[in-house]
């Protein structure tokens, strides 16, 4: 039924004057044409959240109410915290199957650069994806041009507090590139010591080793710092020059490709613009709540 309070418009058109003013981009940072959205002229704060929610839920297989609410709350919270605009790519891993788990909340369409291509049959379980320890990885086509090497944060939510001692890898981000970038974790479970972004020049397999820790594990890169965090805690930080390089050969970001023995359970993947400490705290609270909401279990 037509609702006169709803004004349909294509992104990019100037919104009508009203109680709230907002701008809408025609394309996102990758040049993807954004979808037609419905703007409720009476709504002031959360229309953008509904937009992301509706587009994502339109692409994913029908979810049960619990998971649908988890997505709703996630989008609401990200917008309310002013974090949605910071996100470059976010895999909520909501659907328990490869197709749904490949979807990017920020742009859930069938496009190589935005969807995860799952290699070597990882397990898609209840709110997580898990490497099989031998062949599995995920791959997204966001390449060197997608990330500003001095302005990004990236990471994953680990559902594992303990990982198999026989394993040496992660199901988090790793570098397939000749000069790839990935997170380095320490063997004690604390991302400690010097900040540790490494690249393939120093070894042809993932160098992230065991971290017996669950939570939102992230690396943060700006022109003035590189830092690691777990949940809201900054574990290591440096203002050193970065020594970070971007993709050269594969032009893709891989999720655990070199973790040939990885078996970590991942509850979400995220790439964003560089996050300040307060934003890291906000994001951690939101993602932890989302993990709880969608029923993923930390083990």
């Amino acid at each position: 039924m037509f609702d006169s309070n709803l004004i349909e418009q294509t992104c990019g058109a100037t919104p009508p004057a009203g109680p709230s003013e907002f701008s809408v981009d025609t394309t996102d940072r990758f040049g993807n044409v954004l979808p037609t959205i419905i703007v409720n002229s009476n709504t002031t704060l959360d229309w953008r959240a509904r937009d992301f929610r509706d587009v994502f839920l339109g692409q994913v297989t029908a979810l049960n109410p619990t998971k649908e609410n988890a997505i709703n709350n996630l989008c609401d919270s990200l917008v309310a915290a002013d974090l949605m605009k910071k996100i470059i790519w976010f895999a909520p891993l909501i659907g328990d199957n490869a197709a749904d788990n490949s979807l990017n909340l920020d742009y859930p369409y069938n496009k190589y650069s935005q969807k995860v291509l799952w290699g070597g049959s990882p397990t898609h379980g209840a709110g997580f994806v898990q490497g099989n320890g031998t062949t599995s990885y995920g791959k997204i086509g966001l390449g060197s041009s997608a990330l500003d090497p001095t302005n990004y944060s990236f990471g994953f939510f680990s559902l594992d507090t303990n990982v198999n001692p026989a394993t040496i890898g992660e199901m988090g981000f790793s570098g397939n590139w000749n000069n790839g970038t990935y997170l380095q974790l320490s063997s004690s479970g604390v991302i400690g010591g010097s900040p540790a972004f490494c690249n393939k020049l120093y070894g042809d397999k993932l160098q992230a080793i065991l971290a017996n820790a669950s939570g939102l594990i992230m690396g943060h890169v700006s022109s003035t710092r590189r830092a690691f965090s777990r949940n809201s805690t900054i574990l290591a930080q440096s203002a050193a020059s970065l020594g970070i390089y971007q993709g050269q050969t594969d032009d893709a970001i891989l999720l655990g490709y070199y973790s040939t023995y990885s078996n970590r359970r991942i509850g979400a993947y995220i790439i964003s613009d560089h996050l300040e400490n307060a934003q890291i705290t906000d994001l951690s609270n939101i993602i932890n709540q989302f993990i709880t909401d969608k029923g993923a279990v930390i083990i």
Partner: protein, 142 residues
């Protein structure tokens, strides 16, 4: 976990094959067999239709070569087995195999080198140390 035993040719020919959001991936066991998870039959039905491969139950340990055997990689009498960078204790440890004998080098990561060079010099130190070892054959892989 159950795997399918493939041929090396099958793996090479289908590298990069994808169906929907799934793509082909394989691994080599410690004793040289090429395998992919049995789940791949469901993930990649087009690729596997018409093929019948032997199934085998494997553990992660089955994928780790026995580096103490000289015939594990006959073309490489020297190769790096493991490289562990422990940023908490600020050490880099390189375990390598030389003519079947496992050796280990441990070096300290200094804040100066780490922050200045992103560990480049640390690895250079390690590589130089390894290169200083008299080898019967040149280093072919790091």
């Amino acid at each position: 976990m159950e795997y399918l035993i493939l041929t090396e040719q099958f793996c090479e020919e289908n590298q990069g094959h994808s169906e929907g959001v799934n793509c082909f991936g394989y691994a080599k066991t410690g004793d040289g067999r090429f395998v992919t998870p049995k789940q791949a039959e469901k993930d990649l039905p087009k690729l596997f239709s018409g093929h019948k491969f032997t199934k085998v139950e494997l553990e992660i340990a089955d994928f780790k070569p026995d580096y103490t055997k000289t015939d594990v990689k006959v073309d490489q009498k020297f190769f790096v087995v493991e490289r562990i960078e422990n940023y908490l204790e600020k050490t880099i440890t390189v375990v390598y195999s030389l003519n079947g004998e496992l050796k280990k080098i441990e070096k300290e990561i200094t804040d100066e080198t780490a922050t200045k060079t992103g560990y480049t010099s640390d690895m250079e130190v390690i590589i130089k140390e390894i290169e200083s070892i008299k080898l019967e054959e040149p280093i072919t892989k790091l």
